[in-house]
């Protein structure tokens, strides 16, 4: 590349801009060609400080570990015992997050129910209402109460084991849902009372309440409607975790579901996914602080989601004070989403296994995020359920392995003192010491 021009002056090497990268330039060309912002599924793809930036210390002379296959390490969790006559009792602290029927096929929803039930945990409906296959195959089903109220009816409400009032989602704090026309089959259209083939924009705000005082009355109404039997969760995006958790508790929530920016969505604007909200790592401690300040930690449960992938993530979330976690994207991958076995078909769609995120287009080769009967038929809900169960079991075993190594006989006994951070950012966000020090940014009374 050391070309000389006719005068013999050497050229500089061609240099790719760090600002105008290949990715960015392709975004600009796409926008210029279409006039529409990019819509996609999934969560933030950019690198943000995460649970990967934390490490467990394990046991040593000052702490003793528990025997791997001999000494028990419990994993149960009870959610919603504060006000509900029938709180949710789970065998494992890993739940399946709300994903809409419409975004997902009926068989995919069934598989989530099967896998969750076999692993002793709950699954959640989504924007689009409750389907019989999902109710039938989920031993514990959380019914989402969303701004769109698609398919909302009191009969389904009373069939639910818990109700989750959705205020926001980590992928799009302040944004509503989106289901483009190509995925609106007859069944989806009927459940949502809308014409077939039109773009459905779910509202971003509840139609009949705004703010914490109204929310308190809304929770009262839902309790009255269901005879105070089932817990009421409030799901918020990880935007202002301290205040949102405080206000949710004040409004009377039995559990707070907190979803960080890595959290997946069925479809929204890429600019929203990548630029609004806070990383999951950054939102746990403020939420736990709010619970503690109100004397509600462990009374009102905190369910954390957004990029949870492994037992290590589960253990870290719990060590920072969460009571349970929820998974969306990881569950879909366990079912077979983005599997390299469909690589030629992903290539035909202009993408590659692992990067496929056009879930809103309904052409999912794996037959999960689609309403196309032929594609749907590729997916076996029984096998999908088995795979999800296995994955949930593995995550639980991994979390137990870590907890035992830290000397804990219940996952809930993990604590921030079991952790160190690899980076200054992670140390500040998780409020655990930077590895090799006894300090984290913002820690008072202890400086360099």
């Amino acid at each position: 590349m050391n070309k000389l021009d006719p005068q013999g002056i050497p050229h500089t090497t061609p240099r790719q801009s760090a600002t105008f990268t290949h990715d960015i330039n392709s975004d600009i060309r796409r926008a210029a060609a279409t006039g529409i912002y990019d819509i996609r599924g999934g969560g933030a793809k950019r690198k943000v400080p995460s649970f990967d930036d934390l490490l467990f210390l394990g046991a040593s002379i000052s702490r003793y570990p528990l025997e791997g296959y001999r000494e028990k390490c419990e994993t149960t969790v009870t959610i919603g015992g504060l006000n509900a006559e029938n709180p949710i009792e789970l065998d494992i602290p890993i739940t399946i997050a709300g994903m809409s029927f419409g975004a997902l096929s009926g068989p995919a929803k069934e598989a989530l129910g099967r896998g969750a039930s076999a692993a002793g945990t709950s699954t959640t409906t989504g924007d689009g209402g409750m389907t019989p296959e999902e109710r039938g195959h989920s031993s514990k089903l959380v019914y989402q109460y969303l701004p769109s109220r698609y398919g909302m009816n009191p009969n389904d409400l009373r069939k639910a084991d818990a109700i989750e009032i959705v205020v926001g989602q980590g992928a799009k704090p302040g944004g509503g849902g989106m289901l483009l026309g190509q995925k609106i089959s007859d069944r989806v259209a009927e459940m949502r009372n809308l014409p077939k083939g039109i773009d459905q924009r779910s509202a971003c705000r509840h139609p009949d309440w705004t703010g914490p005082d109204d929310l308190e009355i809304k929770i009262l109404e839902l309790r009255e409607l269901t005879g105070w039997k089932v817990p009421i969760y409030v799901k918020v995006a990880g935007a202002r975790p301290y205040y949102d958790t405080t206000l949710a508790i004040k409004a009377g929530a039995d559990a707070v579901v907190l979803d960080g920016m890595q959290g997946g969505t069925a479809a929204t604007q890429d600019v929203f996914i990548e630029h609004v909200g806070q990383p999951t790592l950054a939102i746990v401690r403020p939420a736990v602080q709010a619970l503690q300040d109100l004397g509600m930690h462990r009374k009102v449960q905190l369910i954390l989601s957004g990029g949870i992938r492994s037992g290590a993530d589960v253990a870290k979330a719990m060590a920072l004070g969460a009571d349970a976690v929820a998974i969306g994207t990881a569950a879909l991958i366990a079912l077979g989403d983005n599997d390299p076995k469909w690589e030629t078909e992903y290539n035909a769609l202009g993408t590659t296994a692992g990067a496929y995120d056009d879930w809103h287009e309904g052409q999912d080769p794996a037959g999960i995020t689609t309403q196309d009967p032929d594609l749907m038929a590729r997916f076996d809900p029984v096998e999908g359920g088995r795979r999800l169960r296995n994955y949930l079991k593995v995550m639980t075993l991994e979390a137990q392995t870590i907890a035992r190594a830290c000397g804990k006989n219940h996952l809930h006994n993990l604590e921030p003192e079991d952790l160190v951070a690899l980076t200054m950012e992670a140390a500040a966000m998780a409020q655990v010491p930077l590895a090799g020090t006894n300090w984290y940014p913002g820690k008072s009374g202890n400086s360099f």
């Binding site: 109220r149 009816n153 009191p154 026309g181 009372n193 773009d199 009949d208 809304k218 409607l225």
Partner: protein, 227 residues
């Protein structure tokens, strides 16, 4: 007739009693006194009973109603009859905002005025208002009918889908993608039927029909300015 004094019985016990009524109950008429603007009165009913509330109610009275008739002898707070599925709610006074939000079926009648966002996201409910309705009424209305014998405020039917609006008086302004429609025979007949069912005496020919222009149903960059 069964009479409940809400100030003595309390909300939970009262709603429990009403929820306990079966399909074939012989206790079909209920009167609630001293409501004092309480929230969630008679929400979630699901039996062919008639409940009359003597006084004004707070938020979400008769929310998610099925089968029952609920009469409010006073004014009704925000979100009254939200997500109503069937049955009827009759409000003698005025209704606050979000009346019948996301209602899937049944009928709501208001003898006075209804505030803003009346019938927001309606999904099949029929709402008949004798007076006026406030701004953003029937916002994102999906299906069902909103009948207004008086005037409508700003942005009527903004971003609506297949819901129909019949307005007798003035419409301050129409919302995005809402337009004036032709009043055909079938609409006159439907309107007459709705007015009869609501027990309101008005001449269908004096009303104008509005509904979706259907230009925002699928995203088109040229419409981006409409939002």
């Amino acid at each position: 007739m069964q009479k409940i004094d809400l100030s003595e019985t309390g909300l939970r016990a009262m709603n429990k009693m009403l929820h306990g009524q079966s399909e074939h109950t012989n206790q079909t008429t209920w009167e609630i006194v001293n409501p004092k603007g309480s929230h969630a009165i008679a929400c979630g009913l699901d039996a062919p009973i008639e409940v009359t509330v003597k006084g004004s109610t707070g938020y979400y009275c008769a929310g998610m109603n099925q089968q029952a008739t609920v009469n409010i002898h006073g004014s009704a707070g925000p979100g009254t009859g939200e997500n109503i599925m069937s049955g009827k709610i009759v409000i003698e006074g005025d209704a606050s905002q979000y009346l019948g939000a996301t209602g899937h079926g049944g009928m709501i009648v208001v003898k006075g005025n209804a505030s803003s966002r009346c019938g927001i996201s309606m999904k099949g409910v029929n709402i008949v208002v004798q007076g006026n309705v406030g701004h953003m009424s029937a916002f994102m209305g999906q299906s069902g009918n909103l009948v207004v014998c008086g005037d409508a405020g700003d942005a009527l039917g903004d971003s609506c889908y297949e819901a129909r609006f019949f307005i007798r008086g003035e419409v301050k302004s129409l919302g995005a993608d809402c337009e004036k429609k032709e009043m055909r025979e079938e609409h006159l007949a439907l309107l007459q039927q709705l007015l009869d069912e609501a027990g309101i005496d008005a001449d269908p020919t004096e009303f104008t029909r509005y509904g979706s222009a259907r230009t925002l149903y699928n995203f088109d960059v040229d419409n981006a300015g409409a939002y």
